[in-house]
Amino acid sequence: MQIVVDLNRCEGYAQCVFLAPKVFELHGEEALLYAPAPPAEQAERVRRAAAACPVQAILVGEQAGADAGTGAGADVR
């Protein structure tokens, strides 16, 4: 599971921190920090947090380009 938060949208309602406190964290009063690749046991909490986000700023998915392979000039489809 991979997540990204659009912090331009984020207004600091912190619903995600309440609902998944091991993944999302307020740094000071308002700045949001989060674990971009939360462990599987947090998946349900993360989905609840994403649904609850009042500005719908949390994108949950699988890692993009995971099928891309790595390395010099890797040519994977």
Partner: protein, 455 residues
């Protein structure tokens, strides 16, 4: 009619945030043709903002910062290989490994790289680092884990300030050297610059403004110290070069595009200009490497190193790549960015550097919670909040409607006698760090005005 737009070969050069979101949008918009993404880093797309925050704090391993996919893109990924040239006549991208990639339409999202330390021998000293890529951040996090006695951060823009913040939070001694008069001053002007200076010092940063680092000193290939322009000398084991970014346009030399150190010029629909200022119809640009005219800012060419711009411009570019003229959209989003440092959430909308005056619209410097509004010739052009993010939408609406500056009186939490001050945005030339927003009202590079015979 639309069939030709939805098929064919599209190549995206640059496989980071903008390239990824463009690829996804192309598929969302019904593009069924062949899609290739080229990236010079060996990694799949990843998210850069956490690198100078969570990763340096040691909360998150650098390897975790991948980006979630919005959808499958069914693309050919060519990662770890650099694009070395563009042949516009043959419509081919040249790769460093000698391969040629033919395309019908091309999207350029090559972004930027960290501006290197200007003295190559000093830059090679062990302990001299930059933070731009996941590998950079991983290396720096390791260095910080080792507990260096002092870290030197060269340049107090957003990245430099966030690095300094992470160091202090880890309890490491840190010196910040900035050529300008204050941290963040190049992006936010004098009022928040002096706020940021007090903030850094209150958190124990040894902040030195108005100085440059004249040399980095080493012994046996390892960094040992630095000399500053004021004659002082400090012992450091780690120096982080945070002098801003360089746009990745060299590969376009000789391509005939309006590409240069300031980026690749394009229209509001993300179509690249050629060097004669004629818009192309098969080459598009998005993200940090693009410069585009924005009507809210007198149609000046904006080049934005912003996460949000990479996403929004990529979406517009992708849409326009697969839709005919009348359906094409302009990229009109109001610029926005954020930074978190020293426990504060700093958010910006509009273009703070496009201003002549500022006022504290809500809150106060003393509280550490405030909104600063920026005006240009009597209209509001930007606002920056510090731990006051929930109000920022209001100022975005004021910017979008070119509302008068200063904002009218009669709001909660507004100083009783708000002062309007000069915005005090320095000439970028006096700063160590490059500005994250560049306003450039002319074409990129003089040499592009030299006419060359067309191939």
């Amino acid at each position: 009619m639309s069939g030709e737009f939805k098929s064919g070969r599209i190549v995206i050069v640059g496989a980071s945030l903008a390239g990824l979101r463009a690829a996804e949008t192309l598929r969302d918009e019904g593009f069924t043709g062949e899609l290739t993404l080229v990236g010079d880093e060996p990694h799949p797309p990843y998210d850069r903002p956490p690198l100078s925050k969570q990763v340096l704090l040691g909360r998150v391993p650098a390897a975790d910062v991948g980006l979630p996919a919005r959808r499958q893109v069914d693309a050919r990924w060519k990662l770890g290989v650099r694009a070395s040239g563009l042949d516009p006549a043959a419509k081919e991208v040249l790769l460093a490994n000698g391969e040629r990639l033919p395309f019908d339409r091309l999207l350029i999202t090559t972004g930027t790289r960290a501006r290197p330390w200007p003295h190559p021998e000093e830059a090679r000293l062990d302990g001299v680092l930059t933070v731009r890529t996941v590998d950079d951040a991983s290396r720096l996090a390791e260095r910080l884990d080792a507990g260096p006695r002092r870290v030197l951060v060269i340049g107090a823009g957003f990245t430099g300030s966030e690095i300094a913040s992470a160091c202090r939070e880890r309890g490491l001694a840190v010196t910040v050297a900035e050529r300008g008069p204050a941290p963040l001053v190049g992006a936010l002007g004098g009022t928040l610059g002096s706020f940021a200076a007090r903030l850094q010092r209150a958190h124990g940063v040894d902040l030195r403004c108005g100085v440059t680092v004249t040399s980095l000193l080493g012994s046996n290939g390892r960094l040992t110290g630095a000399e500053l322009s004021d004659g002082s000398r400090i012992d450091v084991e780690v120096a982080v070069v945070a002098l801003g970014a360089v746009r990745n346009t060299e590969w376009l030399d000789g391509s005939g595009l309006a590409a240069g150190p300031r980026g690749v010029a394009c229209d509001a629909g993300c179509r690249a200009f050629n060097m004669y200022g004629i818009v192309t119809d098969d080459v598009f640009v998005a993200g940090d490497v693009a410069r585009f005219p924005h009507p809210l800012f007198d149609y000046q060419m904006l080049a934005l190193e912003h996460w949000g711009n990479a996403v929004e411009q990529a979406e517009v570019a992708a849409h326009n790549m697969v839709n005919p003229g009348p359906l094409r959209r302009p990229h009109l989003a109001v610029p926005a960015f954020w930074s978190s440092q020293f426990g504060l959430n700093i958010k910006s909308v509009g273009v703070p550097t496009f201003s002549d005056q500022v006022t504290i619209a809500q809150g106060s410097v003393e509280e550490g919670r405030l909104v600063v509004a920026y005006g240009y010739r009597g209209r509001i052009t930007a606002a920056v909040s510090v731990n006051r993010a929930k109000w920022l939408e209001h100022y975005q609406r004021l910017i979008e409607t070119a509302a008068p500056f200063p904002p009218e009186p009669g709001a909660a939490d507004r100083p009783t006698a708000p002062r309007v001050m000069a915005s005090d945005v320095p000439d970028p030339k006096v700063l160590s760090h490059g500005p994250t927003v560049a306003l450039t009202g002319h074409l990129p590079d003089r040499r592009l005005a030299v006419l060359r015979p067309m191939a």
